[in-house]
Structures are given as structure tokens and as C-alpha cells.
Symmetry: C2
Subunit: 491 residues, 2 copies
């Protein structure tokens, strides 16, 4: 019966309609035989309300409906809102992008190139230091040892040698960083070129530290093979001091890691198509970031200057919020460009096997998880050469973490403050402020309730991406403007 079919499946209109139609056709056939006038058998009596049912959003409802549609809606609203801002921006400012307007100075490029070329020299110096020490160690090992006294003497020789080596390495590494920082701060005006030089110097400084520490302990293991914990198996193919070669060091210099190992897991071949794709991603995202900065971030930043100057809190808040979306997109694009595209391309060219440059930091349920997962190269360096040694010496984990973030804060302030010629301490304070945030969000990370993780994740996003980054950018921009006026010639 048509009406009954509809009762059982009221939602499937089309199917029902077919059966209704079939019924109707059948009845038409019947009536035509009886020569009655053609009349529908349909009756307006179906009991559509035949049972007690609850609205799906009520608490009484037996099942909670999926809300996937609202996720799609959120994406669409975000796209629409930002598309609107793009139109608004275009109507207000027109096209701000201008390749020739940028204020590159000839001297900046020359100095930057010299600094880039100087840094490998410090690496070479580190190699020379290690080569000399390795030679001394080989001699000691070559002699047959008989008594415990002689062994103790060896240890003392090792320790005094290490004192010299450590001094030379420190001198070499610090000189590398100090010269670059000095030149960038006083002679390189352009913040982009300055940042590149400073970043390269900091990376090489970290690499020299790791190189020196690791080789010291490899040497110790060679001198005293019995009393020490065994070395990782992967080092067996290149035992100390066979790793002290210029090729080995160059590989470490170019490899996407800050942690020195005499041997790394390697891939069997270079997939050049993979490299090309990653480099294309990097190039595309770099252009995207540049467009976004020039067309959207720059006007917002410029418009904020007056408001910061008079400390109008509501306006500053409004500016930080407007900036937060842009800086968030730039940050995400920059993360992808550097950690996914560039480091993967570099790793592929170097046949470097371990590509875990980051894990899923976007799901971080606490600030602690975030700092352990977004930048694995730096995290692993800090863990291996700062945190674990300090804990090994009896420091509390909290104190060791504090030390890690203190060092990190200094490096961040150098990386931002030196190229912008403004040591205003915002990056430093921002990094140290992570410690209380980590402490506050740590309990959320361990909660079993998914709500705790969601709250932790939201705290992470708000503190880091929606407030921290744009506020920092705003303050450094303000300091820059106060010192120099505009970075670009305004049209």
C-alpha cells in the first residue's frame, strides 16, 4: 500500500514516489477495464506522526548526530571572511606589492656573503682542533697499559687535554657567533639578510658544540672502553677516530640536524623529483609569505604605530587580533616551507634518513608537548647536550628545563633582536614565559578526558599563535619604526 510504504520510510521520497506511482498505474489499468473515470487511489491519510520521537539536538535523543557539516561550514566561513578582508584590503590600499621598491643596500649583500663564507672556516678550525686531539688520543691508546696507576694517569691526561680542547672550541665557536652578530647588528641594515646570516651562525655554533661534546665522549670511550656504557650500534661502522675527516664534518654541516653522530641512517639514493617538488613548494610558499607580508601584514603593522604610541588598549587589541590571522597563516606557511619543504629537500640531497623534523605539534595538548615536537632538531640538541647532561649531574628536571629555555631565550633574542637592531627583550621574555605556561598546561596533557586535551590545545594556540606571535611582531616592528621609520619606501 502506498500510504504504508510512506509510513515506514518517510525520508526516502523518491523511492516511495515510485511505488506510489506504480500503485497508481495499476489502479488506472484496473479502472480503465471497468470504464470508470480515471481517479487516483492516493489517500491523504498517512500517519506521518506514528511514534514518539525526540529532536536530534535534545538531550532525550537516543543518538547524537554527527556535526561534520559544521566543520565544513567553519572552513567556508573562514575562507569567506578572509576573502572579504582581501577585497577590503584591495579597495583600501590597491596593490602594495612592488619588487623594485625594496630597500636592499649593496653593502648588506656583500657583507652577508662574506659572513656566509666565513662560517665554514670556523667549522674547519673545529676540525683541526679535533684532528690534533684525536692524534694525541691515538698515541695513548697505542701504548700497552699495565697498571691501574697508568690508567689513572691516562685519564688525567685526557682531562687536561679536554680543558685545552674545550677552550679552543669555545673560542672558535664564540668567535664565529660574535663576529656575525657584531657585523649584522652594526653593519647589515636589512633585517632579512641579517636574519639569514645570524641564523646560519647560530646553527653552525650549535653544530660545533655538538661536534666537540660528542667527539670528547667518543674519545673517552676509546681510552676507557671497559668502564663506560657501550656506544650505539650505528657508530660501529665508523669508530673514533676514523670519523675525524673533513668529509664527515662537511656532511654534518649540511645535514638537517644539530646533533652530531659519526654515522647517520642514510637512504640508498637521491630522488631528484622529490627534491624538485620540495623546492617548488619552498619557492611557492616563500612568494606567498612575501605577498602576504607586503600586502596584508605591512599595512596592519603601519596602522598600529599610532595606537601603540598612545597606548590605546582597545585599538591595540583590535590590531593584534587583525594581525593574528595574518601572522598565523605566515607562521603555518613558514613552518611548512622550512620544516617540510626545505629540510626534506636538503635531507633528500644529503641522503639523510631520519626526516622526523617535527611531529604532530598542532595537536599539542600542552605547551610542553609543543616545544618537544615542533622543532625536533633544536629539541634533540637541547635534550642531548643541555638537559640530559644537567640531569645527569644531579639537577632537577625543572632546573634543567629552565636552563634549556634560558639558552633558547638568549638564542631567540639574538635571532630576532640582532637583525632588527633592537634588543628589546620581547623574544627573551616570551621564551621564558613558556615555563609557567608549560607548568600550567602539563596537567591537561595527562588528563584522560578528551576535553582536557582540547582545552590544552586551545591554550597552546591562543597563547602562541593568536597572541604571542602577533604581539611580538608588533613590538619589534614598533621598535624598528621608532629607530628607522619605514622599512620600505612607501609609494
Amino acid at each position: 500500500m502506498a500510504s504504508q510504504a510512506e509510513e515506514t520510510s518517510p525520508a526516502h521520497e523518491l523511492e516511495t514516489s515510485k511505488s506510489t506511482k506504480a500503485n497508481a498505474a495499476a489502479s488506472t489499468g484496473e479502472t480503465s477495464v471497468l470504464t470508470k473515470p480515471r481517479r487516483s487511489k492516493y489517500r491523504h491519510v498517512a500517519a506521518y506522526h506514528s511514534q514518539v520521537r525526540h529532536s536530534s539536538l535534545s538531550r532525550d535523543a537516543d543518538w547524537t548526530p554527527s556535526f561534520l557539516g559544521f566543520r565544513n561550514l567553519m572552513v567556508l566561513v573562514l575562507v569567506a571572511m578572509n576573502l572579504r578582508l582581501i577585497i577590503e584590503n584591495f579597495m583600501k590600499y590597491g596593490v602594495l606589492i612592488c619588487i623594485k621598491c625594496h630597500d636592499y643596500r649593496q653593502r648588506d649583500i656583500v657583507l652577508g656573503s662574506i659572513l656566509f663564507a666565513l662560517v665554514p672556516c670556523h667549522l674547519f678550525t673545529a676540525y683541526i682542533i679535533e684532528l690534533a686531539t684525536a692524534g694525541a688520543a691515538k698515541k695513548t691508546v697505542g701504548q700497552p697499559k699495565k697498571t691501574d696507576e697508568e690508567k689513572e694517569h691516562d685519564q688525567q691526561v685526557f682531562r687536561s687535554t679536554w680543558r685545552y680542547t674545550a677552550f679552543l672550541h669555545t673560542l672558535n665557536a664564540t668567535l664565529c657567533l660574535a663576529v656575525t652578530s657584531f657585523v649584522v647588528y652594526f653593519y647589515i641594515h636589512h633585517p632579512g639578510i641579517g636574519t639569514l646570516c645570524e641564523l646560519h651562525a647560530i646553527i653552525v655554533w650549535l653544530k660545533i658544540c655538538s661536534y666537540a661534546f660528542t667527539n670528547r665522549d667518543l674519545r673517552l670511550a676509546l681510552l676507557n672502553p671497559s668502564s663506560d656504557p657501550g656506544l650505539p650500534e650505528i657508530y660501529a661502522s665508523c669508530p673514533y677516530p676514523r670519523n675525524i675527516t673533513i668529509e664527515n664534518l662537511c656532511y654534518f654541516w649540511l645535514a638537517p640536524t644539530l646533533v652530531y653522530q659519526s654515522v647517520y641512517p642514510r637512504t640508498s639514493s637521491v630522488r631528484w623529483s622529490f627534491v624538485a617538488k620540495r623546492l617548488a613548494e619552498f619557492g611557492g610558499l616563500s612568494v606567498f609569505i612575501w605577498l602576504l607580508s607586503a600586502q596584508y601584514a605591512a599595512p596592519v603593522l603601519r596602522n598600529s604605530i599610532d595606537k601603540i604610541a598612545v597606548m590605546d588598549i582597545a585599538s591595540i587589541l583590535e590590531r593584534v587580533m587583525k594581525l593574528s590571522t595574518i601572522s598565523l597563516v605566515i607562521w603555518l606557511a613558514g613552518f611548512f616551507a622550512l620544516f617540510q619543504a626545505l629540510l626534506n629537500a636538503l635531507a633528500e640531497v644529503m641522503r639523510f634518513g631520519d626526516r622526523e623534523f617535527y611531529t604532530d605539534w598542532w595537536n599539542s595538548s600542552s605547551l610542553g608537548v609543543y616545544w618537544r615536537s615542533w622543532n625536533r632538531p633544536v629539541y634533540l640538541f637541547m635534550k642531548r647536550h643541555v638537559y640530559s647532561p644537567l640531569v645527569g649531574r644531579g639537577w632537577s628536571p625543572l632546573a634543567a628545563s629552565g636552563m634549556v629555555f634560558l639558552l633558547s631565550a638568549i638564542l631567540h633574542e639574538m635571532l630576532v633582536g640582532i637583525p632588527t637592531h633592537n634588543f628589546i627583550g620581547v623574544a627573551f621574555v616570551g621564551m621564558l614565559f613558556q615555563l609557567p605556561l608549560i607548568a600550567v598546561t602539563a596537567p591537561l596533557e595527562k588528563m584522560r578526558d578528551p576535553l582536557g586535551k582540547v582545552i590544552g590545545n586551545c591554550i597552546f594556540w591562543v597563547s602562541f599563535c593568536l597572541v604571542g606571535q602577533p604581539l611580538g611582531a608588533l613590538l619589534y616592528f614598533f621598535a624598528w619604526q621608532a629607530k628607522y621609520g619605514s622599512v620600505s619606501r612607501m609609494r
Copy 2:
């Protein structure tokens, strides 16, 4: 070994650090016995890069990470962006909300009240018509029938009676709708009061139609019990003509449905706390919608007038996008206020059992699914009294759907055009435009690939909520402004 423990779980810093510390403590204990100088056993040699691993965003990766964090980020960015717009709005306009400024006219309220009181009279008239017809039918059934000829005669009498009944019902229902529409269009200035009156009239018009059709077919079943499909079981407790009472009709008038049944599923008691909560939701959301309209929608609409007047496409697009977020929020709040809060409260008071006023329309993968799920009362009316009868008469499902949307388009235009005193046909065209959209998205609904459903869902949101609604609101507002100037006295 500390270094090995770290190799296996490099991410669990704290746990590792504890074991490192324990090791260190053990070694300290050992060395103190041997009176050696206190020295850490920690070695900077751990092989953190011990295996080939892929970046989690690479295609090579063995598993795709969860992206739940980005969902949280989207929510936060939406909140931040809208919070910014709220601050911007406040800085531009200050507080626009003003209870006393609203342009209520005394006459509007008086006329509206009279219209509201008149409508039940038409229901009473419908009852009188049905009562008379039921009396005649009872007489016919009372007589013992002998021959087929007499039965055929009965049928003819029934049909001629139905002609009179149908004429009277049509006259009554149309008069009800026509009088209200006329008064609202020409004499009630305020669009809010007008909309309420028109909505009530349309609802009662639909109810009278359903009442007349259903009772006709119940009567037919009474006169001709053998040749007809059986009636739904739920009607057994109140067979025709025992349902023709004033109480039964009043219940149908107030019940949250447009489909007449002599019996409805009922709940056993009224939970007054449930009613109170739903009414509180309704009140709160109504205030929220009013605030949103006055503070955010009104300025955007007013600022759009000049742009529409000069047909500046980019600006109109920008305005529609700015309006789309606000109209979307108003729409969602309005949907919840009406379909979840108000109808559930009404159903609870009436002990009406079937609360399925909507299903999860937000997940609609096509426009067809949306129109079948967002407004179940109207959908069920259209299905029972327009679509299915037409298909039963041999119409194609497409033609029957076309008829449904044509009727719906007329009612929508009446509901919007009459209270705003502007028959500009946008609501009419918008509803008819659903037919091609339904046809286009129907294949997506049936795709097995979830991507098809996501695309269909996005088409639904964009066409309906992000473009259709704000554009419609803009055009009716423009027409209103062109005719009357502002609806509120501007401060």
C-alpha cells in the same frame, strides 16, 4: 643505560630524565665509595638519529597524523576574527541598541492583534463545514445498502458533496489568508508584526488544507470500507466521524505539525521544567538575535545602500560577505530558537510525541537532503498533500517536486514580500532556483566517496547560507529603504 632508554623513547623527556638521574645517583654513590671526584656518567653520544623515518606530512609517511588541533584552531580563529569585528564595530558605531528607538506604531499592534484573533474563526468555520458533511456521511452509512447501483449512487453523492465542501473550505481558507495578507501589506507598517501575522495565517491556511483533505479521505474510507487500503492503526482509537470535535481541531491548531491526523502519538505528562528551559532558550536567543541585528546587521545593511545603488560589484560582494557571517549566525540562532526551543516547548505543553521537527540538515550532502530535513513540518505537509497525490495521479516525480517548490516559492514570497511591502520576487526566484541546485547536487549525495558528500555539503552552505540568505536580506532591505527610508530612527 640512560642513553639507550632515551633512544627508545626520545619524546618522553621527563620519564627518561628520571632514569638518567637515577643512573647518575647510582654512579655518584659508587664514586663516593671510591673517593673519586664526583663526575657525571652522562655521555653525549646517544644516537638520536638511528633509523630512517619520514616527516609526518610527507606522502611517504606510514600513517597520517590527526588534524584535530587544526579544528580547534579554526574555532579559535573564528572567535578571534569575530571578536575583532565586534571591537571594530564598537569603535566605529558605539552602542546602537536602543529599546525606545524602535518605530512601533499603535495601529500595527491593534491590527495585528485583531488578525491573530480572526484566524481561529476560520478554523471554527472549517470545523462547521466538516461537522455538516460528517452528519450527511453518517446518514448515508446508517442506511442499509443492497445493490451495486445504490453504492455507485452513494459515491456520486459523496463526490458532489465533496465539491461543495471543497468549495467552502477553499473559500474559507483563502479568505483567511487573503484578508491577513491584504491588511498586512496595506496597513501594518512594521515588518516584524507583519511577519508574525502572515506566518500565523499561512500556518493556519496549511492546517485547514490538511484538515479538509484528510477528513475527505477518512470519510471516503467510511463510505467505502472494502475497496480502500486500510487506515493507519493509530487512527483506530478515534475513528471518523468521532474526530470532528472542537477539541480535536483546537489540538491540531496548537500542535506543532501541519499534517492533520485524528490521533497523534502523545507523551504521558508535561515536564514543566523542560518547557521552562526551552522557553528560556527561546527568550535568550531572541534577545541575542535582536542585539545582533541592531548592532551588527543594521550598520552593514545601511552601509550597503550606496554600493547597491551604483552597482559597484566588488563592494556588493564585500558587503554580502560581511553580511554572510552575521546572517549565518542569526539564521542558526533563529533555527535553534524556533525548531528546537519553541516547537519543543509547544510539543511538551501539548504532550505531542513526535518531536522530529528537523533531522541533521547541517550534514546535508545535497540541497535535496537539506529541504527534506531542515523543516520537517512543512516537508511532511508538502509530501502528504502535494507531492504524493500528484505522483499518485501519474505526474513524474520531477514535475511533482516542481509543483512543491512552486507552491513553496509563492508562500515564501508572501511571507517575506508582504510584511516588507515589496513583492520583488527574490524569495520566489530563490526557492525555484533550488530545483536546479537539487538536480546538480543529487549525484554528490549518492557518491560513495566521502569527498562527494563534503563537496555537496559545501555547495549547500555556500549557496544557501553564505550567498543566498545575505543576498536576499540585502535586496529586501534595499527595496525597503528605497520605499520608506530607515526602519529605525537613526540616532
